[in-house]
């Protein structure tokens, strides 16, 4: 197992370097001169300034290799430079305060999605073409097609404005400081309900679909037949033998869909004014705060990479065949 994990780790390193390559390439996207490029912008002045700063910061007049070397050197020291915003704080610090919020949101989302998608997929697969299966299939198609920002707006109208049940902005109420400890916790949870509802909606559709598919394939296998033939109850056959095998591909899909989930926080955080990395990214793009943009891009990609690595290792842990084949490959 250790070998398998190490192997995955080593395979990850080139991707890490690749991330720096792509991000470095993005900096050099800007074609032409800054002023005429931004001529149509309202903030042409400020973006010309930003570009000047950018040129100084990354030494854009030096040869590419030198630029890249310098940039990489700073990255290695976790130095992302200072924000172009008036506060001019270090980018790492800015991102650091927002990272926990985004991480927490995404982890909670993921847990809810898996907790709901597994039973939903399992039931629709074992009762294929039943009313439940048909209803969830409709839900899946609608879930795929619903724009998350629209769902967020509708929920804000319903629960925030019309019913007045839930807060629709930020993570804390204005009078948070004056609340008792438990009220504070409740207030926090209340602020999270709508964003998490919106963020899980689309993902849930996808995952329950995969789970159903995977389960359908598993229950047609011979070993399920033999488990039945052995006289095991349907409960044990489905709940133990089938479920375990059906959940394996889910681990991979989990890893693959992480970038999408994390990317989704851009819209959710912007709408609900949640101070996470997604909101920071949007603000930075509007303000042309390039160091923050680049820092965000690199950190988000590295996070996804780490999450993928964890998913791979988890896959190896639950499925012995994977780590065995890994060993076979080395021989």
């Amino acid at each position: 197992m250790l070998w398998y994990a190490l192997r995955r780790l080593v395979l990850t390193l080139p991707l890490l370097i690749g991330i720096t390559f792509i991000s470095f390439g993005v900096i050099h996207l800007a074609p032409g001169e800054p002023v005429d490029l931004q001529a149509g912008d309202l903030n042409a002045q400020s973006s010309a300034q930003a570009r000047q700063l950018l040129r100084e910061m990354y030494g854009l007049d030096q040869p590419l290799a030198v630029q890249y070397g310098n940039w990489l050197g700073r990255l290695a020291r976790l130095d992302f430079g200072r924000s172009f915003a008036p506060d001019a704080r270090p980018v790492l610090q800015k991102i650091g305060e927002r990272l926990p919020v985004t991480l927490m949101l995404n982890i909670v989302e993921l847990l809810i999605i898996v907790a709901l998608a597994v039973p939903i997929g399992m039931v629709s697969a074992t009762r294929q073409y039943s009313a439940f299966d048909k209803i969830t299939t409709v839900f899946v198609f609608v879930g795929f097609a619903t724009p998350d920002f629209w769902l967020a707006l509708l929920l804000m109208i319903l629960f925030g404005t019309e019913l007045g049940w839930l807060p629709i902005s930020g993570l804390r109420s204005l009078n948070w400081e004056y609340m008792s400890f438990w009220r504070q916790q409740w207030d926090f949870v209340g602020h999270l309900i709508l964003p998490i509802l919106v963020a899980t909606f689309g993902g849930l559709a996808g995952f329950s679909r995969y789970m159903r598919q995977s389960m359908l394939e598993v229950i047609r296998q011979d070993y399920i037949q033999s488990a039945r033939a052995k006289g095991l109850s349907e409960r044990v056959v489905i709940g133990k033998h089938a479920l375990r095998n059906a959940m394996l591909p889910l681990v991979t899909i989990l890893g693959l869909s992480l970038p999408g989930l994390i990317g989704g926080s851009v819209i959710v955080e912007s709408i609900f004014a949640i101070p996470g990395m997604g909101q920071l990214m949007v603000q930075a793009v509007f303000e042309r705060d390039y160091p923050v943009i680049m820092g965000n891009l690199v950190i988000v990609a590295v996070l996804t990479l780490v999450a993928n690595l964890l998913a791979d290792i988890a896959y190896g842990l639950v499925d012995p065949r994977i780590r065995m084949s890994g060993r076979g490959g080395r021989r």
Binding site: P14, F141, P259
Partner: protein, 286 residues
Amino acid sequence: MRDFWQAFAKNRLAVVGGLIVLSLVLLAVLAPVLAPSDPNRPNLRNMLGEPSRGHPLGTDQLGRDVFSRMLYGARVSLAVGFVSVGIATAIGIVLGSLAGYNGGVVDATIMRLVDLLLVFPRFFLLLAVLAFLRPSIWTIMAVIGLTGWMGVTRLVRAEFLALKEREFVLWSQAVGATGFRVVWRHILPNAMAPVLVAMTLGIPAAILTESGLSFLGLGVQPPFATWGNILNEGKDAIEIAWWLSFYPGLAILITVLSYNLLGEGIRDALDPRLRQSRRRLAASRG
């Protein structure tokens, strides 16, 4: 081909999806004829007007007719969907064929690049790129296309790996056809079915991405109407003018849903294995 149409026609949802897609295309093309008023003409006497006979979907902050704006918005969605998926598919076919046909170092390099780009959360990458460019419908199309070719590449490569060992390919190689000819005349045509499905399913994804970007205010810029930026303007008036937020979102939902139904229908109709198992299942149930 007849098999395909028969199987497709049996799938009622897919047919409905296809018909809606067709009518959306018609609506978009005929927008200048159908729109009751100029989508960009403000009318300060009728700002945030409720849906009425003259304005079936109401008016916005500047008194512009929402229905007309949405018709023009359909053009943007359609154009972005088709062009960006066209770009992504073209790149995907070229790189996927190169990787699948050549194997070896070429394959390894291209596939690592695919892995690499898939590590970037799409929206963060899109925003980072857009921060350096001036947002316009062309940049949006290009950027969505250029960041969305990885799936098609994988798909085409997988098809090539399966097809290049088949007799008709080996035979044409044996009689001395050039690599390009083998790929172009013999392998690609046989690999197009899954690509077609991927394209049909890629269009709604691109439409969702564009409307998301426009909703954030980083996509197609006003005064050009798109469903996303109508929603963006609508969200500020959400408490007094629900129609500004409701209808564009509904239009996106219906569009994406129809493309998805159509795409899944095409896939099911193309996949004989699936068709057979379904038939067997139906037989065992009946």
